[in-house]
Amino acid sequence: MEIGLVHYLTVAAVLFGLGLLTVMTRKNAVGILLGVELILNAAALNFVAFEHFVAGGVSGQVFTVFIIVLAASEAAIALAIVLQVYRSYRSIMADRLTSLKN
C-alpha cells in the first residue's frame, strides 16, 4: 500500500469535518474553540501535504507556521474574552449570552 496525497487529504478532511461538528454542536465557548483548533490543524496539514507531494519548496510550511502563529494569538485573545464573559454572566454557554436580543 503506497501512501500518497489522497490519504493525507482524507485525514485532513475528516479532521475538518469533526472540527465543524464540534463548532456547530457545542454550547460551551471553550468547546467551540476546541473545534476551531481542529479546523486550523486540518488546514495546516493540507498545506504541508500539498507542498510535499505537489508544489515542492517550503512555501507550504511557511504558511503553516503563520497558521500556528495566528492560532496561538487567537487562542490567547479568545480565552481572555471567555474569562471576561464568565465574570459578567457566570456562564460561558453560548445560548445564554442573549443580552443583545430584542
Binding site: 496525497l5 493525507y8 471553550v30 481542529l38 504541508v48 502563529v69 496561538a72 481572555a80
Partner: protein, 171 residues
C-alpha cells in the same frame, strides 16, 4: 505485510482522528481538552512523515505547551467542578451532521477526481530551507507575525485582568 511507512501513517492517522472524535463527542469538556493532546501529537507525527521536521517540533512546543495549557486553564477557571457532567451540552446535532456530510462529500469528490501527481517521496529534513525562506523571501510577513503576537499578548493581558483600583489611585 504493508511497509513500515504505511503502518506509521495508519497509526498516526488513527491517533489523530480517534482523539479528534473524542474532542467532538465527549460529554466532558476536560476529556475533550485532553483528547486534543492526542490530535496535536498525531499531526506532529504526520508532519515528520511529510518531511516537515521543524513544524513537528513547533507543533508540539506551541500547541501542546502553550495553547493546550491555556485552554485547560480556561476550562478550570470557568467551569464549576461539581457540575462537570453537564458542562459540555450539545445542540443541533441533525443540522450539524447534515452539513458535515455535504462538506465531506464535496471534499472527497474533489480529492479523488483530481489527477494529483501521486508518487511517494522520501522524507528529508527541510529546516535549513525553511530558515532561509523566513530570512529571505518571507522576511516582512515574518516580522508582521511577531508584531501580531506582541499585540495579541498585550491585548489578552488587558482583557483578562481585573480592574483593580489601588488605594493610592482614588484620591
Amino acid at each position: 505485510m504493508p511497509p513500515l511507512s504505511a503502518l506509521v501513517f495508519l497509526g498516526l492517522a488513527a491517533l489523530t482522528l480517534g482523539s479528534a472524535g473524542v474532542v467532538a463527542f465527549s460529554r466532558n469538556i476536560i476529556h475533550s481538552a485532553l483528547a486534543l493532546l492526542g490530535t496535536f501529537l498525531g499531526i506532529a507525527g504526520l508532519y515528520v512523515t511529510l518531511s516537515a521536521d521543524f513544524l513537528a517540533a513547533t507543533q508540539v512546543l506551541v500547541y501542546v505547551g502553550g495553547t493546550l495549557t491555556l485552554i485547560l486553564f480556561a476550562v478550570m477557571l470557568t467551569s464549576r467542578i461539581e457540575d462537570m457532567k453537564v458542562s459540555n451540552p450539545q445542540a443541533g446535532l441533525a443540522a450539524a451532521f447534515g452539513l458535515v456530510t455535504v462538506v465531506l462529500l464535496v471534499l472527497g469528490k474533489v480529492a479523488t477526481q483530481t489527477p494529483w501527481p501521486g508518487e511517494a517521496k522520501p522524507a528529508i529534513p527541510s529546516t535549513a530551507k525553511l530558515g532561509h525562506a523566513f530570512l529571505g523571501e518571507y522576511l516582512l510577513p515574518f516580522e508582521i507575525g511577531s508584531i501580531v503576537l506582541l499585540a495579541a499578548m498585550i491585548g489578552s493581558v488587558v482583557l483578562a485582568r481585573r480592574a483593580v483600583k489601588r488605594s493610592w489611585e482614588k484620591g
